[in-house]
Symmetry: C2
Subunit: 252 residues, 2 copies
Amino acid sequence: MATPTLDLITLRKGCASCSLQQLCLPAGINLRELQELEAIVKRKRPVEVGERLFRQGDRLDAVFVARDGAFKTVLVNEDGDEQVIGFHLPGELVGLDALGTGVHRCEAVALTRANVCEVPFDELSNVAAHVPGLQRQLMRVIGQSVGRDQDHREMLVRRQANERIALFLHGLSERLRTIGEPSETIRLPMSREDIARFLGLALETVSRGFTRLQEDGVISVHGRKVQILDVAELDRLAHGSEPPGDRARVRA
Amino acid sequence: MATPTLDLITLRKGCASCSLQQLCLPAGINLRELQELEAIVKRKRPVEVGERLFRQGDRLDAVFVARDGAFKTVLVNEDGDEQVIGFHLPGELVGLDALGTGVHRCEAVALTRANVCEVPFDELSNVAAHVPGLQRQLMRVIGQSVGRDQDHREMLVRRQANERIALFLHGLSERLRTIGEPSETIRLPMSREDIARFLGLALETVSRGFTRLQEDGVISVHGRKVQILDVAELDRLAHGSEPPGDRARVRA
DNA sequence: CGAGTTTTTGAGCAGATTCAAATCAAGTGG
DNA sequence: CCACTTGATTTGAATCTGCTCAAAAACTCG
């Protein structure tokens, strides 16, 4: 319901006019090079909720970027239960998990209806090989992806559920801001269960965490609609300053 | 105490005769290319325990590979306590964390006395740019590094301390095997505290976990000397099949 | 062999999990 | 338009795991 006209434009006009241009692969290359990149980018019909871009064990043949919508990448273990290893917002590459082995270790599932660009990996490598700007940018987006992985781990090592949740919301908000979306009034694309499986918590613990943050006046929650009321406080909680004791008042 | 003669050899003869050749950057390139790579590799004097290869905030100017010994990479937060984000065995690249921003997000600390190869990153990029085999291999080792990050996260999302510990030992053993070291009789290069900070647990919990595994006959522990007695069982625990109930016997 | 460090062990407690039930949101079909 | 179904989220109560603090035991290394 948010950006139907935009989609049409980007669909027609491609990278050059895409609002994500500065964040995505095209960043920092000139027009001629852009055309070369654009020649290999495929724009597919919208992906429906629950559809997969690739599955575990698939050979790496393309990387994907959502122009809108959101994805999760999950690891399904032999018992059939899934572990969420990442959420992907527009402009963030999906599929880099296969770089090492050439085979996907996880699968990418659409959390919302989404439009994606598909970039065949071999061709991307080829173009990158003789377009230094793209090479560099590719390295950069890979690096950013690694950075998000590290952020994830920073959440997971926190021992307090509330810290993990605060860090999660904080990080999500930051990422929304960098892609130019409202970062304080959020409609979460993922369920509580997804969040729980992402944070290594029980679903109920996530729910309680949200409630707790609401009681403390940090956010307001209505199902998946979350509003950040006190950015500074969320920040503080995320970076795990004081233990939740009542010393907070003393220090403040 | 383990490989002093080997060090001398690799020191003199370089990549071509290094036992890690097949795992490290040189894998899959021909002799001429190897010489080109070798020309930029610096081999430094041994690094002492506790020495750092780089610190948080340092610009990325080189990546490192240990020929022997071990490193940890840590993140030190504002409160001064450190989070261990990785352990690095011989042949595994250290320093890739800076790919995204060009600045190191973490610091690399020697856990043992170690010999390292230092590869200036710019020069590596240059050589890689016109040596496709190296380019590919670079991607591969980056990918492997990403893979190890994912393994780490797989540990961290586990909610049971014992599962995390089992997964840790299991993964370490596998990695030792791939570099051709004894994988079932291990001398851990890291302290319980390092492991705890790596797994997001209290140090005591790690210790108890080891003890528990020993009581169950899966491993035998004497301080840092660990012997894996029941590989299959460790595997099973790591992949978190049945909850520790007594159903195990029924299924067995 | 001692001093210092690392590891193990113990006891009590706080926080997260589990299981269960209630509430809420959003469709669907009458 | 409303009652009803279905799925998601929240809340409650009891249990259990892992944490903290404290002390003992085992290693390391001059």
